[in-house]
């Protein structure tokens, strides 16, 4: 009898045989609720087994290779626990796909105002672990502004809740903010409560193309300083040229008024292309290295021009987050040099030449992060191999 087999029997004995299986001498667990997640983690922690936490796997590799003898599949924890539509809040299990969540919320014309990558497959928990966000962030903020409560399970099986079901709440530490972007290294998120927004009654995308990044950047800065009802804005860059996409969300009469105002900014007429905000996701379809670069809005045109010059492709949200596909490591270094020259911002490799990403260092704050990690997961069993903050 191999060690893994006896572990399988042990774990099955603890959590029930119907949620454990074995594949290539790895233990695969498919818990259905928070308590089962806790039971799996307690077992792994007691036996010093690494646990790989998996949602839909859409962003696997973003933080490098994950080791671990146990896989914790989260898709069994799916569904909406509660949609208090009149309170504009909803609580969901972390394995719910983003699209399924939005479908349910849309029955009351509501949404979680965030547009992550691969929404059709990505899970709520995975989006939280990677702190993904799209162009809507300009108006509605990031997950930090949208998540108001959470249930988490620590490595030792402790089940803890923070926040609550009301938006305004300053009781206790916001543990849930600590989980956003933690790549599952501090605890496993099992339930999440979001604040919701109404789906805008009418929206329209205005796009403007230019041969030079500066022309798009100028309009972008002008829109940021305007009274326009913009909910999303991005600058697309490639060797073929540049485009600025502005999504107006307002009442019908105002949309056309603002459309005309945007036209007056460029002395021309904008167009309204289809699915233009899917451009970010399409960057991942091709070969090459994919990076996330953060910057001030005023630097967006400079970075965009550089990516295009290197014959790469980029989509940059007006909030200052660029996703770029470039050829190789030297192009990444070039972007790092540019970020260093800007004195603010960072470059994260989401998908390297070897298919794996690398998380950047958090500088002087890393010492606190390591200490928090130690206090939350003393044996380092959660997503081993991933070092958040360096």
């Amino acid at each position: 009898m191999s060690g893994a087999t006896s572990r399988f029997e042990e774990l099955a004995g603890v959590v029930g045989v119907d949620i454990v299986s074995e594949r290539d001498s790895r233990l695969i667990t498919l818990p259905r609720n928070t308590e089962e997640v806790a039971a799996v983690l307690r077992y792994a922690d007691a036996n010093g087994l690494g646990v790989q936490v998996v949602g839909a796997g859409t962003k696997r590799g973003w933080a490098g290779a994950v080791r671990g003898e146990v896989t914790l599949e989260m898709r069994g924890l799916a569904g909406v626990c509660e949609h208090s539509w009149q309170d504009l809040t909803a609580t969901l299990r972390a394995g719910t796909t983003w699209a399924e969540m939005q479908r349910v919320l849309a029955e009351h014309r509501q949404m979680v105002a965030l547009d992550p990558l691969w929404a059709d497959r990505a899970t709520v928990g995975g989006v939280i672990a990677t702190n993904d966000s799209g162009a809507l962030r300009l108006r509605y903020g990031s997950l930090r502004d949208l998540v108001i409560g959470m249930t988490i399970v620590l490595a030792d099986g402790t089940i803890a809740r923070s926040g609550g079901k009301v938006v305004k709440n300053v009781a206790g530490y916001d543990l849930h903010k600590l989980m956003i972007g933690a790549f599952g290294t501090l605890a496993v998120v099992t339930e999440v409560t979001f604040r919701l927004h109404g789906i805008p009654r009418s929206t329209r995308v205005w796009s403007f193309e230019a041969a030079h990044a500066g022309a798009c950047g100028e309009v972008l800065m002008k829109v940021l300083d305007s009274q326009l009802s913009v909910q999303a804005m991005q600058l697309r860059a490639s060797a073929a040229g540049f485009a600025l996409d502005v999504e107006i969300a307002s009442i019908n009469e105002l949309i056309w008024e603002q459309w005309n105002l945007l036209n007056s900014y460029v002395g021309g007429a904008g167009v309204s292309p289809d699915d233009v905000f899917g451009a970010r996701q399409r960057l991942f379809a091709g070969d090459g290295v994919v990076v996330k670069v953060t910057m001030l809005p005023s630097a967006i045109a400079r970075f965009s021009a550089e990516v295009a010059r290197m014959r790469g492709e980029a989509v940059t949200q007006a909030s200052g987050i660029m996703i770029a596909r470039v050829a190789d490591a030297s192009a990444v270094q070039r972007l790092r040099d540019l970020a260093a020259a800007e004195d603010v911002g960072s470059v994260t490799v989401l998908r390297g030449a070897d298919g794996l990403g690398v998380l950047p260092s958090a500088g002087d704050a890393a010492v606190v992060m390591r200490e928090i990690k130690r206090r939350f997961d003393a044996k380092g069993i959660l997503n081993p191999g991933v070092a958040v903050g360096g």
Binding site: V170, A362, V368
Partner: protein, 482 residues
């Protein structure tokens, strides 16, 4: 008493900036929650992050507790010193260091007054959104500690949404940086955890803030209703329509009457006064005003009035912001409570609160941020009547239990501090609090950074936590409000 040698170390750390005379220390013995008072051992007035580091290092070396303090307007005792502790106060670190209008960023020192940020960026058409009622005197450092809100956080969010990055002196004296001027700083979101940690994780010495474009139009509607239920229903209807007003406030008869007497805001006399502020592009606001007016009518408002001028709007708000203090005109003493409930529970909870007050023959004036379910019941009583204060305190804390039982919170914006330590045990289970403690000790293993706050005291003493029990009456009094 701090020893002479420690005092001389501190003196050297903040040249010309150490207060030790008992008469001067008295200023720092409490914050806005004046019924808790403790004399600190010394007050340091640093001029730089380096000086803050020096002071904190001395404290760390000797195991002396310290607490950061802004203007002392907090309402939960967050800045209450520990005995013989060092208060670090920031009147000498009050510079706005840089304005980057195109990128909508401002860098400030922690002692900058909230309103001064808006004053600095107003010429460019911007404002700093969090607006606690004390905004003309409270500091950004204090706002960050408490994650301050304000009437307009319904639409614009709390301090946490508007603080992008910070330089922090850790409880061990190290200088570190959380967050950044750009989104998604590498690593765990320590900026998100630090904001609202009530001064227990370190002392901020520099903050990068986000500013917001001033809306094209601002309009304020006042609507008079015969019942809180009708006003509350209107609030739900407005939100259900998909509108997100800048503010949605309700005052009941008692508080509106008090505010009227104080500032002559020209409020209609009614059971429930609803105040709606809408802002944005003019055409959008006009459409929303029409919709809101119709919803008020549908729910039985017998008067809907639009403030016609900027002066009228300012007066309406002045009355609202003065409501707490104005209640002093109709009652010798009062307690302000700060609880949160899901918005839809508003009418039921208010009726329950009224029943609870009737049962003990006390009056409650209600002022609340109705849009986000944040209640501020003001429990009126007379200290001169033997036993009444005790009854009032008990009532005030039972109201918090009602909030928690309804799925709400024990505090929406005033914080836990010293005041609500025990109520934390009612809202959170032992493992929740223990997990938060893991965060605290990661920052402050010596337990010297604003100790004995936020977490239930019984737990710190190793006793079992349980349902909340009121503080001993003799320690309690009435908070002052700004």
């Amino acid at each position: 008493m701090l020893s002479d040698s420690i005092l001389s170390e501190l003196r050297a750390a903040v040249p010309g900036g150490l207060i030790t005379a008992a008469s001067e220390l008295q200023t720092y013995e409490c914050d806005g929650l004046t019924n808790f008072r403790t004399m600190p051992g010394a007050v340091a007035l640093p001029r730089s992050a380096e000086q803050v580091q020096s002071v904190v290092r001395i404290c760390a070396r000797h195991g002396i507790p310290f607490v950061g303090r802004g203007s002392g307007t907090g309402l939960s005792g967050g800045a209450l010193p520990a005995e013989d502790s060092v208060v670090i106060s920031f009147p000498r670190m009050n510079r706005i260091l840089s304005l980057d209008i195109p990128n909508q960023r401002v860098v400030v020192e922690p002692g900058v007054i909230n309103l001064h940020v808006t004053d600095a960026v107003a010429p460019y058409g911007y404002f700093y959104a969090p607006d606690p009622s004390s905004q003309s005197v409270c500091t950004i450092g204090g706002n960050v500690a408490e994650n301050s809100g304000g009437a307009h956080c319904l639409k614009y969010g709390f301090t946490t949404t508007h603080v992008l990055g910070m330089e922090v002196v850790l409880p061990g004296g190290e200088l570190v940086h959380f967050g950044a001027a750009v989104p998604d700083a590498p690593g765990y979101d320590l900026a998100g955890v630090f904001v609202g940690s009530e001064g227990t994780l370190g002392v901020a010495t520099r903050l990068t803030l986000r500013i917001v474009k001033r809306p094209e139009t601002v309009q304020v509607l006042l609507a008079a209703f015969d019942s809180i239920r009708a006003a509350g229903q209107t609030v739900s209807d407005i939100i259900a329509e998909g509108m997100l007003p800048a503010a949605l406030e309700i005052m009941d008869r008692l508080s509106a009457k008090a505010a009227e007497a104080a500032v002559h805001a020209n409020y209609p006399v009614c059971e429930a006064l609803l105040l709606v502020e809408l802002d944005g592009p003019a055409a959008e606001v006009a459409a929303q005003i029409a919709k809101t007016t119709a919803l008020c009518g549908k729910n039985g408002a017998w008067e809907v009035r639009r403030a016609q001028t900027a002066e009228e709007r300012a007066l309406v708000w002045k009355g609202r912001k003065a409501a707490f203090a104005a209640v002093g005109r109709i009652s010798p003493n009062y307690i302000v409570q700060d609880g949160v409930i899901p918005r839809t529970a508003l009418p039921d909870v208010l009726e329950e609160i009224t029943r609870m007050a009737d049962a003990v023959n006390l009056r409650i004036a209600n002022v609340f941020h109705a849009g986000d379910g944040n209640l501020h019941p003001l429990v009126l009583y007379d200290k001169a009547v033997p036993g009444q204060e005790e009854i009032a305190l008990d009532l005030s804390y039972r109201i918090l239990h009602v909030c928690v039982d309804r799925g709400g919170s024990i505090t929406g914006e005033h914080g836990v501090g010293r005041e609500k330590q025990e109520a934390m045990g009612y809202m959170f289970a032992e493992p929740d609090l223990a997990t938060m403690q893991r965060v605290r000790v990661a920052f402050d293993p010596r337990n010297i950074c604003n100790p004995d706050k936020v977490f239930p005291r019984t737990k710190l003493c190793g006793e079992k936590t349980g349902p909340y029990t009121p503080h001993p009456l003799e320690e309690k009094g009435v908070a002052e409000f700004f």
